[in-house]
Structures are given as structure tokens and as C-alpha cells.
Subunit: 112 residues, 2 copies
């Protein structure tokens, strides 16, 4: 994953409505959620929601598919994980890293 893509992904997530939408999609899993449903759940006008979803899609964080009149969005877990890997890459310069509050996400994620 390149810095450019990472920045686009982080920018996409760094906004109230988009972060909320993305989390709903992460929790929804494969079947995804329609644009209109997201707009309603988040209480955002359809045109605004569309703008935000386009940003998430542009960042590669979500995919979209048409299903009748609706457009269904789903989270792309591979990109999300790539993002997290980029942040923690080579953390602590390769040293131990499993000590108190160190950089091993899989062990410390539950806290904080």
C-alpha cells in the first residue's frame, strides 16, 4: 500500500458521517447497506451521503453494487487491513514490542 492511498483512506475516514457510515458497513459485513438506508440512519441528506460514499469508494474502503434501484455499499476489509498494517509497519524498529502498551495491536486492541 502506498502513502497516497493511505492518505486518501485516512482522509476518507476522518469525517463524522463517513466514519459512522464505514463502521456500519464494517459491522454489516458482506451483504452491505444501501445508500438510502445509510442516509436515513445517519440523518444526512441523500446528496451529502452520496458525496461521502464517493469519497470512501475513491479511497478503496468500500465497494458498491447495484441491486435493483438501490446501490449497496460494502466495506473492503483488505484495504482496511492494509491501512492498519501501514501504520504499524516496522514498529519499535523491530524490538520486542510486546511490552506494556507496545505496538502489538492484536494483543492490546481491546483496551484503550
Amino acid at each position: 500500500m502506498h502513502a497516497d492511498q493511505v492518505i486518501r483512506a485516512l482522509s476518507a475516514l476522518a469525517q463524522e458521517h463517513r466514519l459512522a457510515a464505514f463502521r456500519l458497513l464494517v459491522q454489516a459485513g458482506e451483504h452491505g447497506i444501501a445508500a438510502g438506508v445509510l442516509a436515513e440512519k445517519l440523518d444526512v441528506p441523500p446528496s451529502s451521503m452520496s458525496f461521502h460514499l464517493a469519497q470512501l469508494a475513491n479511497a478503496g474502503l468500500v465497494t458498491q453494487r447495484r441491486e435493483s434501484r438501490s446501490i449497496i455499499y460494502s466495506a473492503d476489509y483488505a484495504v482496511m487491513n492494509g491501512l492498519m498494517g501501514y501504520l504499524t509497519e516496522n514498529c519499535c524498529g523491530g524490538v520486542s514490542c510486546s511490552e506494556d502498551a507496545a505496538c502489538l495491536p492484536s494483543q492490546t486492541r481491546k483496551s484503550a
Copy 2:
């Protein structure tokens, strides 16, 4: 971790120089890196670097300590991990989640 703090953290990271600085700090570990060294490594004017470091600090992603004339910045791993936990929280609605390209960062992080 609350949405507000997560958004501040994501906003802080969603910028070329700040992302680069944060990664250097993540890799540097506990001993950290001085503001001036970061400015030089990233080829950014000191006043700009200071502005960016303040954003990272405000987001809680880095801590700072004075050491003689220098101010040393270090990554805060707990906040970084809290951020990642927030994104993956309750992913896939609790279903399996370990399948092909699912949302288990610790297993899929190497790819993508």
C-alpha cells in the same frame, strides 16, 4: 475511545508530512525523535513541522518531552491501537470473520 477523538486522530494522520512523521516515530520507539530532526528528515520548514506535530499531539497520537533545547516526540501506541480497535469493532456483526479477506487484521495484515 470516542468518535471525536478517533476523528481527530484520523485527521491528524491524513496528511503527507504528519503521516510520514508518525511512521518515523512509530519505528523509533520509546526514545523518540526531536522536532528539528523530523523537520530536516522530511524537508519541511520548522514552523510547518511544529504546526503538524501540534496536530498529532492534540490528537493524542504523540507525546512530547523537553530534553535540553530539543523537544522530543514519541508515538503513543495505546492511542494508535485504540484507533484501530475502533475501526474494526464488532466487525462482520460478530460472524466468523476469519475467512478469505475478512476483518481479522492480525492475520491478514501482511497482505494488501
